[in-house]
């Protein structure tokens, strides 16, 4: 049986460049991604880490940059520290009639990971949209939450 995918699509009144920047700029991710930052040089083959904005040793997720084509497509492997399950996250960013369409595909998920991330992505990506459209993220995503994914 193939592992399930989680796919989330959201439309944002913004540009692909701004969305790409929001995904990698710590000053933005801390606002919409549970006070975390994504650290990498974003080159294919490089490592990347999703870590506590205030404590670099507190790493929630880590993996490898599989593809990096700014500002259109970013593919990452995704694993929690000390866990063997490795999944894959693809960000596709397209221009769409003066707005942009962001599609996040989280694939190769174990059932446990599917349930863990299904609640997280809609909150994080809804907050990203709010931040880019209004200048303010959703308050609940500014705080560090345990088991953030």
């Amino acid at each position: 049986m193939s592992k399930p995918d989680f796919v989330y699509v959201i439309y944002i009144h913004s540009t692909p460049e701004k969305i790409w920047q929001a995904l990698i700029d710590p000053e933005m991710t801390k606002e919409f991604w549970g006070r975390h930052r994504n650290r990498s040089d974003w080159k294919p083959g490089s490592e990347w880490r999703h870590q506590n904005y205030d404590d670099a040793d507190d790493v929630a997720v880590a993996g490898t940059v599989v593809e990096s084509d700014p500002p259109r497509r970013l593919v990452l492997t995704w694993a929690r520290p000390n866990e063997t399950d490795v999944s894959r996250v693809t960000f596709d960013i397209e221009d769409f009639m003066g707005s942009a369409r962001l599609t996040v595909t989280h694939s190769e998920l174990s059932p446990e990971m599917l349930s863990a991330i299904s609640g997280g992505w809609p909150a994080v990506l809804s907050s990203l949209k709010s931040l880019l459209e209004t200048g303010a993220s959703l308050p609940m995503t500014r705080r560090n939450w345990k088991k953030a994914s």
């Binding site: 439309y11 944002i12 009144h13 009639m97 809804s126 709010s130 209004t134």
Partner: protein, 170 residues
Amino acid sequence: MNVKNFKPAIVYTIYIAATPEKVWQALTTAEFSRKYFSGFAIEADLQVGGAFIARAPDGSVHISGEVIECDPPKKLTITWNVNWPALVEKLGPTLVTYEIEQTGEAVKLTMLQSHDRDISEDILSGGRQGWPAILSSLKSVLETGNALAIKMAPPERMLAALKEMGIGTP
């Protein structure tokens, strides 16, 4: 019609900086729906058994349904039947449920599109394409006052699948 026979085929969740009452109003009134739903007017008689209609900008009734559950501002379940010849006969009714929850300082809106039988991915592709656009735009309307100026292309894959089943499509 027994709601218990229906299973969600499409689920979409979005968080909105608004109150549950505002989200409810956006989902159930033409004033808001015209902005985020391609000019369509939602006309809802908000009581169980009441009519639920989405009227196209040309005045024709595009979706006709009935209110099944109504618990403002928390939950609304309606039948959501597109008025294409033979559609309901061949696919059965479509059920749409909106769940609205206050979560901290935002509202969590969950849309569930449910059916009482297996529906092919080809047919579901229409909803998979449409709901994120509609609800992304609804969020923008409530947070910024402006809808997204996006127009969806006709859902060709769904239309081809419906045509194959002998369902009348535009």
